[in-house]
Point group: C2
Chain length 260, copies 2
């Protein structure tokens, strides 16, 4: 691929990790936009780019414009963007490709991974969901994804929204259940480290088999005595009690439907 | 430690993995009891023990009697057990140590890990929650745990019940959310492999930091537009919709209480 130039719209976690990854892969980062000029300068400095706090200052001529901002900010920002012949992509899970229809070439670069500012992101093997305005653009985005070491999945906007929803269950909600567990342990003066090997093993099993096949626990065994004790222990936290009740019921329902 | 003998009451996952681990650590497995004689014979054969389907045939004289059966079967079985001077332990998370008060020495060996028949269990570093009738017995159980390579935690019965409850949230419920995610993906003809790196990274983060500190997603950002889309996508599954709603509300509540 010829020397490739990228302009980054946004300065959050996703924008930052993509900017760094593109630069490391040999691309030139031309400009970084953020509505917060200080953030734009910070990321621009990190990647040898120019910073701007004004969409009017974004220059045409970059090969790729990567829009990595909050979902509801995408439509407003891209209206102000003159991308010329460049490809415009956004990185959102739940925003349709139609939001970019005004450009000559456009697409989606949705990474199915949790990004945080502190932790480094491994792009090697990162699932990248791609959608594009046309075949040529798709192939271009695919090459770029491979340049980053990512694993390409071709998803339309409806599939991408479903993948995003699945990710909320598997990642955001699971993490919150870890947090609930941590609070329960602390309440009884127990360290979170007590259940870390369990968390590790549970995730590991899901990596090698179907999670439906490795379900265990009182709800799966329909062990009513244990569930009653647990609900009783949660009586002072009606929110957690209801979460326990609903998830247990769904585990049991799922077991029945599998066995029938 | 002198040559050590263990009799195993039970033939399920926990019984099987402990029997093998004790044997590999140099102990003699004397007898295996199961109400299903074929299962008893199978595990006995695997560990060089004698099998029995009758509690009356359990001989006294073993150093340790490990009771690894369903919670509600423990009380009935131990009533029939003549353990002499041997230590009697059960492996349940939610059964009080009082269930064993009839014996001269007794305790708890509660492993905080998910066991399945197929997958090998790594005893190295396995969190083992121990409680005992007396100091000498505690030290004995501690030595045995270390012999297996496990990591000893001293928990009383109330703490153990809390740890079990925390494990249900962090392991059983998380795994069920993986299963829900898998179903959502399959509905849109997407492979579960799409979110495996995300599951791995989410668990990995919990191993190195507090899960409260790494929460992300629409509920945490209070992104109402995305949550509305998700709830709408779940309209045909009221159970999942309610799980989505409850967990999102709890994530947001938790964020607020942390910030205040």
């Amino acid at each position: 691929m010829h020397p490739f130039s990228v302009t980054i719209i946004g300065s959050g976690n996703v924008a930052t990790h993509f900017a760094k990854a593109f630069q490391q892969a040999g691309a030139t980062i031309r400009q970084v936009y953020s509505r917060n000029p200080a953030n734009a300068r910070k990321l621009a400095k990190l990647t040898g780019a120019k910073a701007t706090g004004s969409m009017a200052r974004i220059e045409s001529g970059a090969d790729l414009y990567l829009v990595a901002v909050k979902d509801d900010a995408i439509a407003g920002l891209v209206k102000q963007l003159d991308a010329g012949d460049g490809i415009v992509v956004h990185t959102a899970g739940s925003v349709s490709i139609q939001a970019l229809e005004g450009f000559s070439r456009y697409g989606i670069f949705y990474p199915l991974q949790t990004f945080s500012k502190k932790a480094a992101v491994r792009f090697e093997g990162l699932p990248l969901c791609i959608e594009a305005s046309d075949k040529k653009t798709f192939r271009m985005l695919e090459s770029l994804a491979e340049l980053l070491g990512a694993k390409v999945y071709r998803l339309d906007s409806e599939q991408r929204a479903a993948a995003h929803l699945a990710a909320v269950f598997a990642c955001n909600f699971s993490n919150h259940l870890y947090a609930v567990a941590e609070k329960l342990l602390h309440k009884y003066k127990l360290p979170f480290s007590l259940i870390r090997p369990l968390i590790e093993e549970t995730a590991h099993k899901a990596l090698v088999q179907s999670p439906s096949d490795s379900q265990t626990g009182p709800a799966f065994r329909n062990d009513k005595a244990v569930m009653k004790k647990h609900l009783d222990a949660l009586r002072k936290n009606p929110g957690w009690k209801e979460i326990y009740r609903l998830l247990s019921a769904d585990i049991y329902r799922n077991r029945k439907s599998r066995n029938s």
